[in-house]
Amino acid sequence: MSFLSLLARNRLALAGLIVMALVVLLALVTPILPLADPDVTNTGNRFLKPFSEGALLGTDHLGRDLLSRLLWGTRLSLAVGFAAAVIAAVLGAAVGIIAGYYGGRVDNLIMRGVDMLMAFPYILLALAIVAALGPGLLNALIAVAAVNIPFFARNIRGITVGIAHKEFVDAAKLAGMGDARIIVSEVLPNVVPVIVIAMSTTVGWMILETAGLSFLGLGSQPPQADLGSMLGEARSALITNPHTSVVPGVMILIIVMAINLLGDGVRDALDPRLRSGALTRPMAATMVQRKGPVPDPQGDNVLDLRGLETQFHVKDRIYRAVGGVSWGVKPGECLGIIGESGSGKSVTALSVMGLVASPPGVITGGAVFYKGEDLVGAPYERLRSLRGREVAYIFQDPLATLHPLYKVGDQLVEAIRVHHHVSDKEARAKALGLLKDVRIPNAESRLENYPHEMSGGMRQRVGIAMALANDPEVIIADEPTTALDVTVQAQILSLLDTLRREKGLAIVFITHDFGVVAQLCDRVAVMYAGRIVEEGPTQIVLDAPAHPYTRRLIACVPELGEGKRALHAIPGLPPAVNDLPPGCAFAPRCDKATEACRQGEIALDAFGARKLRCLFPETELEAAQ
């Protein structure tokens, strides 16, 4: 269902499908249509014009009925084209899967053979095969199939290499499966879509190739008609009686166009990357559809979020990823945001600078104040001038955020020159200073490195250097040390800590690790299902968590130095944000929840320096005056 609807969404593919269905239907019913015999000659009636009496499309140089020859010829051309495609796909896929699965020497031998096949121009190779086997439609079919095997073999091998190293293949080996069984039941189902895609885009090509061989007289033999041989026979009368060439020519054009349009549609509909929306280009800034009043800025925070709401609109579902989040940071302060995956912590951070991909992301409420200026709904030019210059990001995986083909020095220079009109030389000097700031040894030579030449810790330092490139006021770090080893993590954290003390940076640090928060952050906000459930000074929150979720999340995490013991797990799973329960989102997993928790909104109330969203706090809290 999803495949057909995806295909139908592509108008051209749908048109191709309809035309192709008509052509195939015509070819199928040809034997029962009241047509003249395609091979009976009647030289008295040669070169009749189209729409003549008794011959709708006219006759050829031997007086044979062109309509009849066209339909019979189409039938034959289609059959040969499809058969060649199937044979090439089956053999090519088999070769490719075997080469890709076994790898090493087997792969080397097979693929070098395939390379040799590819070294000849295809038409020359096909001619050589037909010359060796003798002319005839069957031999033309064999030639076309053989010529196309390398295309399939290479495609399928590439996919298979990826699959053969997947963990489920290892798991199948450990479950006692042999190689042959693994190929058939584990690898093959995962490459079938690729085979179908490759076939759909090559069938048209193969029909053309077969027609080409027949045109040269190497395919179907007289009097049998196929589209190529009809063209070939009509060649001598091209000027005097053009309709004899136009009729088969138009049919070839229709078939190949229809198949190619359909093939492109099939590819787009089956390709998982295109399916997930890679073809829809996200907008330059997140879409804003604010309903309700816009809050006013308050306090002296350099970055201040007020009731921010970000949603994802996917078809008719609404995912409330961020459901009204407020926080702020002062210069030199570090705010930790802690939460599990899906709690909305990253989406909150990306919403600040309008970096959530739209579609499907939409900011539906609240405001983001940078020094009192509301950034939600700000013009793209304004956002762009602030991105990186005033508010910079550090992401989890520096390998994914650094461009693999440019030297890190050039990338730093570019980051500087986007916001500052300085010469290349000045920018380079600044880049060198930045690498020294983030304590990269041999900074001069490191400028010339590509990202892949550096270790994970070094790359993350470059990521931090890039964030610092334009002396931002705020750095938003989204799990910057999660992918790093502990010894490297310790170095990066102390680097961030020094930087904020030296330069008065405000840092928003997103993590799931309480140890990191405890060491680096002044205040911490705990998020659950798109909302802050507790916020306060780090020390106080960690020593005496007031929200049941915070307390139990801390209890889940083993801490070094406590020895072997059982952990206190939280039963159940976080709720899906497109189906949030009314009232407290944690209530279904909470042992203290009552009916009151499941009804209506629970407010985030202030208690002195901390805030809490719970009716039954774990510790006694005094309400703020």
Partner: protein, 316 residues
């Protein structure tokens, strides 16, 4: 107590830059000869940073990778042919990424049936009974059986991975970072499940992780790997609390702990030694504050009573 798993000088060397003619460009000693004994019913934790050879070691133990030297013995019987199907009945593997270890195009039932059919030759009725039994053990509902892997959360998928490993009825499980892809609240559920299964079924675990706190919480003994060698091994409560090897101390000091001020235990930048061009002597020498002359000449051996360390200048 009998020995469940015994490794004798097990090592792995990868050949890099193979050429059609002539010798290869270099060799990487991913795992230096490791000798270990794991008693039945023990959880041995293996920690180390990326590139230390912990996954290579694990893959050798289940026969997915052929060792370059040394031998593996399970319950007194040697296993020297790298055939996963033979290994499979005696030692099983739980993968790090729960989703990618399940074939996306098979239902959970099809995935669960394979080890029962291939390793134990059960018929349909036996298989159904056994699958119900295992699913009850890992707290999964039987209605999950006819769904596809992408429909599950990470925690549920990891339970399915554990269920598949249990289906082989192996007594030893290699747990390769089994919870590092999971959220903390789910992580605890899976760790507790593993502890419960071990108790009930008398299993032996090799628990591989980079998370020191998790390893300490679940292990009886811990082995610390650095650059392909075991540098320290001892009881879990001692290894990080009172490390003997300077590297173990560095690891323990680097782990973020609530209530400890932020310090970088290692001030200057350090990178792992180059595997293609390994240093002479102790691999940790370049990062070690205690390194002496002897460290640059000889490779230290694991020595000690209950807490063994491979160091000429142990901390205690």
């Amino acid at each position: 107590m009998s020995i469940a798993l015994k490794l004798d000088a097990l090592s792995k060397t990868f050949v890099v830059g193979k050429q059609l003619f002539g010798p290869p460009k270099g060799r990487v000693h991913a795992v230096h000869p490791v000798t270990l004994e794991v008693p039945e019913g023990e959880t041995l934790g293996i920690v180390g940073e990326s590139g230390c050879g912990k996954s290579t070691l694990a893959r050798m133990l289940v026969g997915l990778l052929e060792p370059s030297g040394g031998s593996i013995e399970i319950a007194g019987k040697p296993l020297d042919n790298a055939d996963p199907a033979v290994f499979g009945k005696r030692i099983q593997y739980v993968f790090q990424d729960p989703i990618s270890s399940l074939n996306p195009r098979k239902t959970v039932r099809q995935i669960m049936e394979v080890p029962l059919k291939r390793l134990h030759g059960m018929d349909k009725a036996q298989r159904d009974r056994r699958i119900s039994e295992i699913f009850a053990q890992v707290n999964l509902r039987e209605e999950f059986l006819d769904r596809y892997p992408h429909e599950f959360s990470g925690g549920q998928a990891q339970r399915i991975g554990i269920a598949r490993a249990l289906a082989a009825e192996a007594k030893i499980l290699i747990l390769d970072e089994p919870v590092s892809a999971l959220d903390v609240s789910v992580q605890a559920q899976v760790l507790n499940l593993l502890a419960e299964l071990k108790q009930r079924l008398g299993l032996t675990y090799l628990f591989i992780s980079h998370d020191l706190a998790v390893v300490e919480a679940v292990s009886d003994r811990v082995a610390v790997l650095y650059f392909g060698s075991v540098v320290e091994i001892g009881r879990a409560e001692d290894v990080f609390a009172n490390p003997r090897h300077p590297y173990t101390k560095l690891l323990a000091d680097s782990a973020p702990v609530v209530g400890r001020p932020l310090t970088a235990p290692e001030g200057r930048e350090t990178e792992l030694p180059d595997p293609l061009n390994p240093p002479k002597g102790c691999a940790f020498r370049a990062r070690c504050p205690y390194a002496g002359e002897r460290c640059g000449e000889e490779v230290p051996r694991l020595e000690g009573e209950t807490q063994l360390a491979a160091c000429f200048h142990p901390l205690r």
